[in-house]
Amino acid sequence: MDREGPPLESLTRRLAETPEDFLAEPKCGKAGRIIVPAVVGDLLDLLGSDGGRENLGRFAGKDAADQRRLSVTLLFCWLLADASFRGTNPSSEIVLTLLDATAAELAGQAAPAKLLRDPDRREEMVRLALARLGYRPAGETAAQAQDRLSSISSSERARVVQAARAAEERARAVREALARKAAEESADKWTRE
């Protein structure tokens, strides 16, 4: 979150005003009509992201189980198509992770319609998108942005907890490795301090 992004309110309003095409059913198998891989590809072009086009298959819905996730993907696509992100050249890997994994997490917590209706959910979506792309909302410090995101987003809280757990697990492994007899034997040096 080391870069200042657009104001939060302009993006939450944009989400609240999502046009019908982005609220329509994504194509999953024979159902639905919006071809999400094409929308995602257009978004990458708009953003100026290199690569990633070969990984759009994950946005091709196979059955009804994919529908909620892809509906959230479409909402993120609309959000990131905002003029403030155009030509900013974000990493395609980061963008695709947001559109795929983060969208799946949110879809598991609430229906897409609720994400748009509930102001807190809209704020959560906007803050998640900004954070993943390395931005903080205009007028906020990185610490304020992280605090607000953690308090409003259950998936962010889960991510923070998981990251902390992984870090502690790694630190424990390092401490244990250093305490091993083999580590105590050290290795040859031509001088010792």
Partner: protein, 455 residues
Amino acid sequence: MDTRMIDPEQTDEDRYPTLSVEGRRMLEFLREHPHAPIFRNESGNRLSAGDIERVRAFEQETRTAQVGWKPGVPPEWIWSFVEKCVAEVPWYRRYDPLPAAFEDLPVISRADLSRDVAQFVPDTVSVERLVNYRTSGTTGHPLLLASDPVVSASYLAFHKRALRRLGIELQYGRGLVGVVLLGWQRKCFTYVSVTPTMDESGLAKLNLHPDDWRAPEDRASYLEALAPEVIAGDPLSFSVLLDLNVGLQPRALFSTSMALLPGLRERLESRFGCPVLDFYSMNEAGPIAVADPSAGGHVLLQHRLYVEILDPEGKPVRPGERGEVTLTGGFNFCLPLVRYRTGDQASLDLSGREPVLVGLQGRPPVRFRTKAGEWLNNIEVTHVLGKFAIAQYALYQAADGALQMKICGPRGDITEIRKALLALFGPEQALEIVTTGWVDEKWIQYTSDLPGAQP
């Protein structure tokens, strides 16, 4: 059961993965010589064939690399190094976003490493390969430091660079002993090994304390049988070596761990007919510099180590001023340092071809008060005592101004030492000189209970 807790016994294959028939013969020679000491431990180079290539490439890089930067301008590599630290090292993640100026980055100290060294080990480092080094706790912060066999083996690159400054290239290889490391401690880590990058020349880490030998006279016989190209030690073990009736012709002596006084250095050079390289080295960063009286101090050796001199508030001092030696970078990829305050004091001279640490002192400064009430920097005491061949000393000033000087390893010149100190402090100065005989611990060189002694 957690399989990570299992710690299988190490074998020779683990300790010497590329050992040849000749290398094994060298190990047998070192271990089974009739005058060999009682080796207390086992260790090895732990280098695979790939590691050996890596160490050789690093030696080549170090051989030709330029060391230095313009005053006040960090070297070009510094930001990519810091960014990598922020991306990979738990402790440094908190530095994100990075400040615009390098000098605005936080400093770290021994206390930070001591609290939990795991926070300083990059996520990319394999825990399977970790080795540790422990350092003494004279500052109240004993350290357990993370390292890797490749890092340990890479020390030699800097030793060779320092030797090359004197026109010396190491030559001993297969069938010969490259280095003997000497200690003088009641309890000392001792073992034998071979150095793969030197065609498996022998390495023996020995303790000169008589308790480690079947007979005290075995020490000289064994050293003569090994006839090493290099002898490494510290002023304590070298002083013991001087007392042995031993005929050796090493090509160089490496001194580390403690300040080496010019008097002792001259005695060693004259006795063994070779240069003594006094390294400024620490477990946290390896060999940082080597003393060169003609350069006016300790010449920096590492091309990827940025050295700053900071004031007590952590701000860079003006060029030429004394302050705390602070390190960024280094070759220990298990423990990358960003603005690590060493606790050592010096000024930095960047005016010559090589950067030089001037007036290096291994501890925070202590002021001593003369009988006339004048404050003296401890470095003046160091200068006065430099001509004596003392292995180790400690000077303490009590709250009433009285001085106590402890000297390890009597050299028969106590009267001269007294005369030199009284010339500095005044003839009326209360001064007690205590000689302790040999000790196996590192003393804090300068201490005082006098108010105002810490500038």
